[in-house]
Protein backbone atom coordinates (compact mmCIF):
# COMPACT_ATOMS: atom_id res chain seq x y z
CA UNK A 1 0.00 0.00 0.00
CA UNK A 2 1.30 3.39 -0.87
CA UNK A 3 1.90 5.87 1.85
CA UNK A 4 -1.22 7.79 1.02
CA UNK A 5 -2.41 7.79 4.58
CA UNK A 6 0.76 9.08 6.12
CA UNK A 7 1.56 11.77 3.59
CA UNK A 8 0.19 15.11 4.71
CA UNK A 9 -2.49 16.43 2.48
CA UNK A 10 -0.94 18.81 0.03
CA UNK A 11 -1.95 20.82 -2.92
CA UNK A 12 0.64 22.25 -5.21
CA UNK A 13 -0.67 24.71 -7.67
CA UNK A 14 1.37 26.10 -10.49
CA UNK A 15 0.25 28.81 -12.74
CA UNK A 16 2.54 30.20 -15.35
CA UNK A 17 1.38 33.47 -16.75
CA UNK A 18 2.79 34.95 -19.86
CA UNK A 19 4.21 38.37 -20.16
CA UNK A 20 4.93 37.83 -23.80
CA UNK A 21 5.91 34.43 -25.03
CA UNK A 22 5.92 32.43 -21.84
CA UNK A 23 5.12 28.79 -21.94
CA UNK A 24 4.89 26.12 -19.28
CA UNK A 25 5.97 23.37 -21.58
CA UNK A 26 8.44 22.63 -24.25
CA UNK A 27 6.96 24.05 -27.38
CA UNK A 28 7.53 22.71 -30.83
CA UNK A 29 5.83 24.25 -33.81
CA UNK A 30 6.27 22.46 -37.13
CA UNK A 31 6.21 25.59 -39.25
CA UNK A 32 5.36 28.49 -37.05
CA UNK A 33 1.89 29.04 -38.47
CA UNK A 34 0.33 28.50 -35.08
CA UNK A 35 1.62 30.83 -32.43
CA UNK A 36 1.45 30.07 -28.76
CA UNK A 37 0.14 33.04 -26.88
CA UNK A 38 -0.01 31.52 -23.47
CA UNK A 39 0.27 28.15 -21.82
CA UNK A 40 -0.92 27.90 -18.25
CA UNK A 41 -0.13 25.00 -15.94
CA UNK A 42 -1.31 23.90 -12.53
CA UNK A 43 0.08 21.03 -10.48
CA UNK A 44 -1.84 19.94 -7.41
CA UNK A 45 -0.98 17.33 -4.79
CA UNK A 46 -3.47 15.66 -2.49
CA UNK A 47 -3.42 12.24 -0.85
CA UNK A 48 -0.34 11.18 -2.77
CA UNK A 49 -1.75 12.16 -6.15
CA UNK A 50 -0.44 15.09 -8.14
CA UNK A 51 -3.15 16.88 -10.08
CA UNK A 52 -1.57 18.52 -13.08
CA UNK A 53 -3.66 21.01 -14.99
CA UNK A 54 -2.27 22.78 -18.00
CA UNK A 55 -4.05 25.00 -20.45
CA UNK A 56 -3.07 25.55 -24.05
CA UNK A 57 -4.08 28.81 -25.64
CA UNK A 58 -3.35 29.50 -29.25
CA UNK A 59 -3.53 32.36 -31.69
CA UNK A 60 -4.94 30.26 -34.48
CA UNK A 61 -3.39 29.40 -37.80
CA UNK A 62 -3.51 26.49 -40.14
CA UNK A 63 -0.95 24.05 -38.83
CA UNK A 64 -0.59 21.67 -35.95
CA UNK A 65 1.11 22.68 -32.77
CA UNK A 66 2.89 20.45 -30.30
CA UNK A 67 4.10 20.61 -26.75
CA UNK A 68 5.99 18.21 -24.49
CA UNK A 69 5.78 18.24 -20.70
CA UNK A 70 7.81 16.04 -18.35
CA UNK A 71 5.74 14.26 -15.70
CA UNK A 72 6.76 12.74 -12.36
CA UNK A 73 4.88 9.51 -13.02
CA UNK A 74 2.29 7.69 -15.09
CA UNK A 75 -1.09 9.43 -14.92
CA UNK A 76 -4.05 7.39 -13.77
CA UNK A 77 -6.43 9.69 -15.61
CA UNK A 78 -6.31 12.40 -18.28
CA UNK A 79 -9.39 14.54 -18.72
CA UNK A 80 -10.56 18.02 -19.49
CA UNK A 81 -9.76 20.45 -16.70
CA UNK A 82 -11.96 22.99 -15.02
CA UNK A 83 -12.82 26.25 -16.71
CA UNK A 84 -11.71 28.91 -14.28
CA UNK A 85 -9.22 27.37 -11.85
CA UNK A 86 -6.14 28.82 -13.49
CA UNK A 87 -7.64 32.26 -13.95
CA UNK A 88 -8.88 32.31 -10.35
CA UNK A 89 -5.44 31.50 -8.99
CA UNK A 90 -3.88 34.20 -11.06
CA UNK A 91 -6.48 36.67 -9.88
CA UNK A 92 -5.71 35.73 -6.27
CA UNK A 93 -2.24 37.27 -6.47
CA UNK A 94 -2.87 39.76 -9.25
CA UNK A 95 -6.17 41.43 -8.41
CA UNK A 96 -7.32 43.66 -11.23
CA UNK A 97 -10.01 46.32 -10.72
CA UNK A 98 -12.97 45.65 -12.95
CA UNK A 99 -12.86 49.04 -14.64
CA UNK A 100 -9.20 48.61 -15.56
CA UNK A 101 -9.39 45.05 -16.74
CA UNK A 102 -10.29 45.76 -20.33
CA UNK A 103 -7.48 48.26 -20.79
CA UNK A 104 -4.94 46.12 -18.96
CA UNK A 105 -5.39 42.87 -20.78
CA UNK A 106 -1.98 41.40 -21.37
CA UNK A 107 -1.38 39.73 -24.65
CA UNK A 108 -2.31 36.17 -23.98
CA UNK A 109 -0.02 35.42 -24.80
CA UNK A 110 15.73 4.22 -34.09
CA UNK A 111 16.79 3.10 -31.33
CA UNK A 112 13.34 2.14 -30.21
CA UNK A 113 10.86 4.88 -30.00
CA UNK A 114 9.13 5.72 -26.76
CA UNK A 115 6.39 3.49 -25.41
CA UNK A 116 2.94 4.97 -25.80
CA UNK A 117 1.10 4.47 -22.52
CA UNK A 118 -2.05 6.40 -23.20
CA UNK A 119 -3.67 8.33 -26.02
CA UNK A 120 -6.70 10.55 -25.76
CA UNK A 121 -8.23 13.59 -27.39
CA UNK A 122 -9.55 16.56 -25.47
CA UNK A 123 -11.25 19.16 -27.62
CA UNK A 124 -8.69 19.87 -30.36
CA UNK A 125 -5.76 18.51 -28.37
CA UNK A 126 -4.32 15.08 -29.04
CA UNK A 127 -2.69 13.91 -25.81
CA UNK A 128 -0.12 11.12 -25.67
CA UNK A 129 1.53 9.84 -22.51
CA UNK A 130 4.97 8.43 -23.26
CA UNK A 131 7.55 6.39 -21.42
CA UNK A 132 11.15 6.45 -22.58
CA UNK A 133 14.57 7.99 -22.39
CA UNK A 134 15.34 11.38 -23.84
CA UNK A 135 16.45 9.90 -27.16
CA UNK A 136 13.38 7.72 -27.41
CA UNK A 137 10.95 10.49 -26.60
CA UNK A 138 12.77 12.83 -28.95
CA UNK A 139 12.64 10.26 -31.72
CA UNK A 140 8.95 9.66 -31.11
CA UNK A 141 8.33 13.40 -31.29
CA UNK A 142 10.31 13.68 -34.51
CA UNK A 143 8.56 10.68 -36.07
CA UNK A 144 5.23 12.23 -35.17
CA UNK A 145 5.89 15.56 -36.82
CA UNK A 146 7.14 17.60 -33.88
CA UNK A 147 9.99 19.93 -34.70
CA UNK A 148 12.39 19.79 -31.78
CA UNK A 149 14.47 22.82 -30.90
CA UNK A 150 18.27 22.33 -30.75
CA UNK A 151 18.31 22.31 -26.95
CA UNK A 152 15.63 19.61 -26.80
CA UNK A 153 17.98 16.57 -26.72
CA UNK A 154 19.80 17.85 -23.62
CA UNK A 155 16.62 19.00 -21.87
CA UNK A 156 14.80 15.73 -22.56
CA UNK A 157 17.74 13.80 -21.10
CA UNK A 158 17.74 16.16 -18.10
CA UNK A 159 14.19 15.07 -17.29
CA UNK A 160 14.34 11.46 -18.44
CA UNK A 161 17.15 10.74 -15.97
CA UNK A 162 14.67 11.34 -13.14
CA UNK A 163 11.36 10.35 -14.68
CA UNK A 164 10.89 8.68 -18.06
CA UNK A 165 7.27 9.86 -18.34
CA UNK A 166 6.31 12.67 -20.70
CA UNK A 167 3.11 14.11 -22.03
CA UNK A 168 2.99 15.19 -25.65
CA UNK A 169 0.12 17.44 -26.61
CA UNK A 170 -0.63 18.28 -30.19
CA UNK A 171 -3.04 21.08 -30.94
CA UNK A 172 -4.83 20.49 -34.21
CA UNK A 173 -5.73 23.92 -35.52
CA UNK A 174 -8.00 22.49 -38.22
CA UNK A 175 -9.91 20.49 -35.62
CA UNK A 176 -10.18 23.59 -33.45
CA UNK A 177 -11.59 25.50 -36.37
CA UNK A 178 -14.09 22.73 -37.07
CA UNK A 179 -15.15 22.81 -33.42
CA UNK A 180 -15.61 26.54 -33.59
CA UNK A 181 -12.88 27.07 -31.02
CA UNK A 182 -12.08 30.76 -30.89
CA UNK A 183 -8.59 32.13 -31.23
CA UNK A 184 -7.20 32.76 -27.78
CA UNK A 185 -9.46 30.20 -26.15
CA UNK A 186 -7.65 27.81 -23.85
CA UNK A 187 -8.11 24.09 -23.41
CA UNK A 188 -7.34 22.99 -19.84
CA UNK A 189 -6.04 19.47 -19.29
CA UNK A 190 -6.16 17.73 -15.91
CA UNK A 191 -3.89 14.78 -15.11
CA UNK A 192 -3.94 12.82 -11.86
CA UNK A 193 -0.49 11.37 -11.16
CA UNK A 194 0.25 9.18 -8.12
CA UNK A 195 3.63 10.22 -6.73
CA UNK A 196 5.41 10.41 -3.39
CA UNK A 197 6.14 14.11 -3.56
CA UNK A 198 4.88 16.95 -5.69
CA UNK A 199 7.22 18.33 -8.29
CA UNK A 200 7.05 21.25 -10.68
CA UNK A 201 9.16 21.33 -13.86
CA UNK A 202 10.63 24.78 -14.46
CA UNK A 203 13.62 24.29 -16.74
CA UNK A 204 11.28 23.15 -19.50
CA UNK A 205 9.99 26.73 -19.62
CA UNK A 206 13.18 27.78 -21.37
CA UNK A 207 13.06 25.13 -24.06
CA UNK A 208 13.64 26.60 -27.49
CA UNK A 209 14.56 30.01 -26.12
CA UNK A 210 17.85 31.87 -26.37
CA UNK A 211 19.91 31.89 -23.18
CA UNK A 212 19.33 35.62 -22.64
CA UNK A 213 15.55 35.47 -23.07
CA UNK A 214 13.60 36.14 -19.91
CA UNK A 215 11.31 33.56 -18.37
CA UNK A 216 8.53 34.77 -16.09
CA UNK A 217 6.09 32.49 -14.35
CA UNK A 218 3.87 32.37 -11.28
CA UNK A 219 3.95 29.28 -9.11
CA UNK A 220 1.29 28.65 -6.48
CA UNK A 221 1.49 26.06 -3.74
CA UNK A 222 -1.42 25.13 -1.50
CA UNK A 223 -0.47 22.76 1.29
CA UNK A 224 -1.88 21.57 4.58
CA UNK A 225 1.01 23.26 6.29
CA UNK A 226 3.91 25.42 5.31
CA UNK A 227 5.88 23.37 2.75
CA UNK A 228 9.62 22.88 2.56
CA UNK A 229 10.95 24.42 -0.65
CA UNK A 230 14.33 24.25 -2.32
CA UNK A 231 14.90 27.80 -3.52
CA UNK A 232 17.94 28.72 -5.61
CA UNK A 233 19.87 31.91 -4.95
CA UNK A 234 18.16 33.77 -7.74
CA UNK A 235 15.48 33.42 -10.36
CA UNK A 236 12.80 31.97 -8.07
CA UNK A 237 11.43 34.16 -5.29
CA UNK A 238 8.92 33.31 -2.57
CA UNK A 239 6.56 36.28 -2.76
CA UNK A 240 3.80 35.17 -0.46
CA UNK A 241 3.39 32.60 2.30
CA UNK A 242 0.06 32.65 4.15
CA UNK A 243 -3.13 30.78 4.95
CA UNK A 244 -5.22 30.25 1.80
CA UNK A 245 -8.35 32.37 1.84
CA UNK A 246 -11.71 30.67 2.21
CA UNK A 247 -13.01 32.36 -0.90
CA UNK A 248 -10.09 31.06 -3.00
CA UNK A 249 -10.56 27.49 -1.84
CA UNK A 250 -14.32 27.67 -2.32
CA UNK A 251 -13.92 29.07 -5.83
CA UNK A 252 -11.40 26.42 -6.83
CA UNK A 253 -13.49 23.59 -5.40
CA UNK A 254 -16.51 24.81 -7.36
CA UNK A 255 -14.73 24.30 -10.69
CA UNK A 256 -15.16 21.14 -12.72
CA UNK A 257 -13.07 18.23 -11.46
CA UNK A 258 -11.60 20.23 -8.56
CA UNK A 259 -13.49 18.70 -5.65
CA UNK A 260 -10.34 16.89 -4.58
CA UNK A 261 -9.21 20.14 -2.96
CA UNK A 262 -9.84 20.09 0.81
CA UNK A 263 -12.38 22.54 2.13
CA UNK A 264 -10.13 24.40 4.55
CA UNK A 265 -6.80 24.70 6.28
CA UNK A 266 -4.65 25.16 3.20
CA UNK A 267 -1.42 27.14 3.24
CA UNK A 268 -0.81 29.36 0.22
CA UNK A 269 2.68 29.97 -1.10
CA UNK A 270 3.24 32.13 -4.14
CA UNK A 271 6.55 31.96 -5.96
CA UNK A 272 7.60 34.03 -8.92
CA UNK A 273 9.99 32.82 -11.58
CA UNK A 274 11.98 35.69 -13.10
CA UNK A 275 15.06 34.36 -14.81
CA UNK A 276 16.83 34.10 -18.10
CA UNK A 277 16.45 30.84 -19.95
CA UNK A 278 20.18 30.25 -19.53
CA UNK A 279 19.95 30.53 -15.73
CA UNK A 280 16.77 28.50 -15.36
CA UNK A 281 18.52 25.15 -15.08
CA UNK A 282 16.46 23.71 -12.21
CA UNK A 283 12.99 22.59 -11.21
CA UNK A 284 10.98 23.25 -8.07
CA UNK A 285 11.44 20.52 -5.47
CA UNK A 286 8.86 20.47 -2.67
CA UNK A 287 8.72 18.26 0.37
CA UNK A 288 5.38 17.64 2.01
CA UNK A 289 6.69 15.81 5.07
CA UNK A 290 8.76 18.59 6.53
CA UNK A 291 12.04 17.15 5.30
CA UNK A 292 14.62 18.83 3.11
CA UNK A 293 13.51 18.81 -0.53
CA UNK A 294 15.50 16.62 -2.88
CA UNK A 295 18.33 18.26 -4.83
CA UNK A 296 17.90 15.51 -7.41
CA UNK A 297 14.24 16.43 -7.85
CA UNK A 298 15.32 20.03 -8.34
CA UNK A 299 17.78 18.97 -11.01
CA UNK A 300 20.66 20.40 -8.98
CA UNK A 301 22.27 17.00 -8.48
CA UNK A 302 22.30 13.86 -10.53
CA UNK A 303 20.94 10.56 -9.31
CA UNK A 304 23.72 8.77 -7.46
CA UNK A 305 25.87 11.88 -7.11
CA UNK A 306 24.72 12.70 -3.61
CA UNK A 307 26.83 11.44 -0.70
CA UNK A 308 25.43 8.34 0.92
CA UNK A 309 23.63 8.79 4.19
CA UNK A 310 25.69 7.98 7.30
CA UNK A 311 25.49 4.27 7.99
CA UNK A 312 24.91 2.76 11.40
CA UNK A 313 27.19 -0.12 10.46
CA UNK A 314 30.98 -0.43 10.55
CA UNK A 315 32.73 2.86 9.73
CA UNK A 316 34.59 3.12 6.45
CA UNK A 317 37.94 3.73 8.18
CA UNK A 318 37.56 0.48 10.11
CA UNK A 319 36.75 -1.46 6.95
CA UNK A 320 39.76 0.10 5.25
CA UNK A 321 42.03 -0.78 8.14
CA UNK A 322 40.80 -4.39 8.15
CA UNK A 323 41.31 -4.62 4.40
CA UNK A 324 44.87 -3.31 4.74
CA UNK A 325 45.62 -5.79 7.52
CA UNK A 326 44.25 -8.67 5.47
CA UNK A 327 46.30 -7.56 2.48
CA UNK A 328 49.46 -7.26 4.60
CA UNK A 329 48.85 -10.69 6.10
CA UNK A 330 48.40 -12.11 2.64
CA UNK A 331 51.67 -10.63 1.44
CA UNK A 332 53.52 -11.91 4.49
CA UNK A 333 52.05 -15.40 4.11
CA UNK A 334 52.94 -15.49 0.44
CA UNK A 335 56.49 -14.39 1.18
CA UNK A 336 56.87 -17.03 3.90
CA UNK A 337 55.55 -19.71 1.59
CA UNK A 338 58.10 -18.67 -1.06
CA UNK A 339 60.94 -18.72 1.45
CA UNK A 340 59.92 -22.16 2.73
CA UNK A 341 59.70 -23.48 -0.80
CA UNK A 342 63.12 -22.06 -1.63
CA UNK A 343 64.59 -23.69 1.50
CA UNK A 344 63.30 -27.11 0.53
CA UNK A 345 65.91 -29.37 -1.01
Amino acid sequence: MRRLLIVPLVLVLLVCSAGGALACAGVFSPNGNVNLLRTTTLAGYADGVEHYVTSFTFAGGGAEFGSVIPLPGVPESVERGGDWTLQRLNREVNPVPEFAAAANVRTLARTDSAEVLLETTIDALDITILRGGGDEVGRWAKDNGFLLSPDAPEVLDFYAERSPIFMAARFDAAAARDRGQAIGEGTPIHLAIPTDNPWVPLRILGLGKQAVERIEADVFLLTERKPELLLPDRGLVLERSEQGSASLIADLRADKGMSWIPESGMWLSYLRVDSTAGDLTYDLAVDVKGEEPSRVDAGLARIGSLPAAPSAGIPLWALTAVALLVAAAGVAAGRGWSLRRAAQP
Partner: protein, 137 residues
Amino acid sequence: MLLSRNRLSVVLALAGLVLVAAALRAAAGTVPVQPVEIKYSRFEPNFLRLEAGKAVTFEITNTDPIDHEFILGDRQVQERHETGTEPHHGEIPTEVTVPAGQTVRTTVTFDRPGRLLMACHLPGHYAYGMKAQVVVR
Protein backbone atom coordinates in the same frame (compact mmCIF):
# COMPACT_ATOMS: atom_id res chain seq x y z
CA MET B 1 60.92 -30.93 -63.19
CA LEU B 2 62.80 -27.94 -64.59
CA LEU B 3 59.70 -26.79 -66.35
CA SER B 4 57.79 -27.08 -63.16
CA ARG B 5 60.33 -24.97 -61.33
CA ASN B 6 60.07 -22.26 -63.98
CA ARG B 7 56.31 -22.32 -63.75
CA LEU B 8 56.48 -22.05 -60.01
CA SER B 9 58.83 -19.09 -60.30
CA VAL B 10 56.53 -17.34 -62.70
CA VAL B 11 53.54 -17.94 -60.49
CA LEU B 12 55.39 -16.65 -57.45
CA ALA B 13 56.62 -13.61 -59.36
CA LEU B 14 53.12 -12.82 -60.55
CA ALA B 15 51.72 -13.28 -57.10
CA GLY B 16 54.36 -10.93 -55.75
CA LEU B 17 53.50 -8.33 -58.33
CA VAL B 18 49.83 -8.60 -57.51
CA LEU B 19 50.57 -8.16 -53.81
CA VAL B 20 52.80 -5.15 -54.44
CA ALA B 21 50.17 -3.56 -56.67
CA ALA B 22 47.51 -4.15 -54.07
CA ALA B 23 49.68 -2.70 -51.34
CA LEU B 24 50.43 0.39 -53.43
CA ARG B 25 46.76 0.84 -54.24
CA ALA B 26 45.80 0.46 -50.61
CA ALA B 27 48.45 2.95 -49.58
CA ALA B 28 47.26 5.43 -52.17
CA GLY B 29 43.65 5.05 -50.98
CA THR B 30 44.34 5.53 -47.29
CA VAL B 31 42.61 8.67 -46.15
CA PRO B 32 42.77 9.65 -42.51
CA VAL B 33 39.45 9.53 -40.74
CA GLN B 34 38.45 12.43 -38.52
CA PRO B 35 35.60 11.43 -36.20
CA VAL B 36 33.13 14.16 -35.30
CA GLU B 37 30.38 13.53 -32.77
CA ILE B 38 27.22 15.59 -32.50
CA LYS B 39 25.66 15.46 -29.05
CA TYR B 40 23.19 17.89 -27.53
CA SER B 41 23.45 19.98 -30.71
CA ARG B 42 27.18 20.57 -30.31
CA PHE B 43 30.17 19.38 -32.31
CA GLU B 44 32.88 17.40 -30.59
CA PRO B 45 35.71 18.22 -31.05
CA ASN B 46 34.86 21.89 -31.39
CA PHE B 47 38.27 22.77 -32.87
CA LEU B 48 40.11 20.96 -35.65
CA ARG B 49 43.48 21.58 -37.25
CA LEU B 50 43.88 19.98 -40.70
CA GLU B 51 46.37 20.11 -43.57
CA ALA B 52 45.79 21.68 -46.96
CA GLY B 53 46.21 19.46 -50.00
CA LYS B 54 45.42 16.24 -48.15
CA ALA B 55 42.13 14.46 -48.16
CA VAL B 56 40.37 13.73 -44.89
CA THR B 57 37.27 11.68 -44.29
CA PHE B 58 34.90 13.15 -41.73
CA GLU B 59 32.96 10.46 -39.92
CA ILE B 60 30.08 12.38 -38.38
CA THR B 61 27.96 10.59 -35.78
CA ASN B 62 24.74 12.24 -34.71
CA THR B 63 23.74 10.88 -31.29
CA ASP B 64 20.81 13.28 -30.99
CA PRO B 65 17.21 12.29 -31.75
CA ILE B 66 16.97 15.23 -34.13
CA ASP B 67 18.51 15.81 -37.56
CA HIS B 68 21.55 18.01 -38.00
CA GLU B 69 23.71 19.42 -40.78
CA PHE B 70 27.45 19.39 -41.34
CA ILE B 71 28.20 22.50 -43.36
CA LEU B 72 31.92 23.10 -43.76
CA GLY B 73 33.04 26.44 -45.15
CA ASP B 74 34.06 30.00 -44.51
CA ARG B 75 31.81 32.66 -43.04
CA GLN B 76 30.30 33.49 -46.41
CA VAL B 77 29.24 29.90 -46.86
CA GLN B 78 27.77 29.86 -43.37
CA GLU B 79 25.87 33.08 -43.93
CA ARG B 80 24.46 31.75 -47.18
CA HIS B 81 23.19 28.64 -45.45
CA GLU B 82 21.87 30.53 -42.45
CA THR B 83 19.50 32.39 -44.74
CA GLY B 84 19.03 29.57 -47.23
CA THR B 85 16.12 27.21 -47.69
CA GLU B 86 17.75 23.93 -48.69
CA PRO B 87 16.03 21.25 -46.59
CA HIS B 88 18.59 18.52 -47.24
CA HIS B 89 22.19 18.18 -48.32
CA GLY B 90 24.26 15.36 -49.68
CA GLU B 91 25.56 16.21 -53.15
CA ILE B 92 28.45 18.38 -51.99
CA PRO B 93 31.09 16.81 -49.71
CA THR B 94 31.20 19.89 -47.49
CA GLU B 95 27.43 20.10 -47.15
CA VAL B 96 25.93 17.01 -45.58
CA THR B 97 22.72 16.19 -43.75
CA VAL B 98 23.24 13.91 -40.76
CA PRO B 99 19.95 12.25 -39.81
CA ALA B 100 19.09 11.56 -36.18
CA GLY B 101 21.02 8.66 -34.69
CA GLN B 102 23.04 8.01 -37.84
CA THR B 103 26.65 8.21 -38.97
CA VAL B 104 27.62 9.83 -42.25
CA ARG B 105 31.02 9.85 -43.96
CA THR B 106 32.24 12.52 -46.33
CA THR B 107 35.72 13.01 -47.77
CA VAL B 108 37.06 16.50 -48.29
CA THR B 109 40.34 17.82 -49.70
CA PHE B 110 41.20 21.38 -48.72
CA ASP B 111 42.93 23.11 -51.63
CA ARG B 112 44.32 25.98 -49.59
CA PRO B 113 44.87 27.10 -46.01
CA GLY B 114 42.17 29.06 -44.26
CA ARG B 115 39.90 29.40 -41.29
CA LEU B 116 36.62 27.57 -41.66
CA LEU B 117 33.60 26.62 -39.61
CA MET B 118 31.61 23.43 -39.43
CA ALA B 119 28.06 24.32 -38.53
CA CYS B 120 24.41 23.37 -38.62
CA HIS B 121 21.85 25.74 -40.06
CA LEU B 122 18.60 23.99 -39.26
CA PRO B 123 16.26 26.53 -37.65
CA GLY B 124 17.77 27.87 -34.45
CA HIS B 125 20.76 25.54 -34.40
CA TYR B 126 23.43 28.06 -35.45
CA ALA B 127 22.15 30.66 -33.01
CA TYR B 128 22.15 27.98 -30.32
CA GLY B 129 25.89 27.71 -30.88
CA MET B 130 26.16 24.71 -33.15
CA LYS B 131 29.43 25.63 -34.78
CA ALA B 132 33.08 24.64 -34.45
CA GLN B 133 36.33 26.01 -35.84
CA VAL B 134 38.42 24.28 -38.48
CA VAL B 135 41.87 25.66 -39.25
CA VAL B 136 43.52 24.46 -42.47
CA ARG B 137 47.27 25.02 -42.66
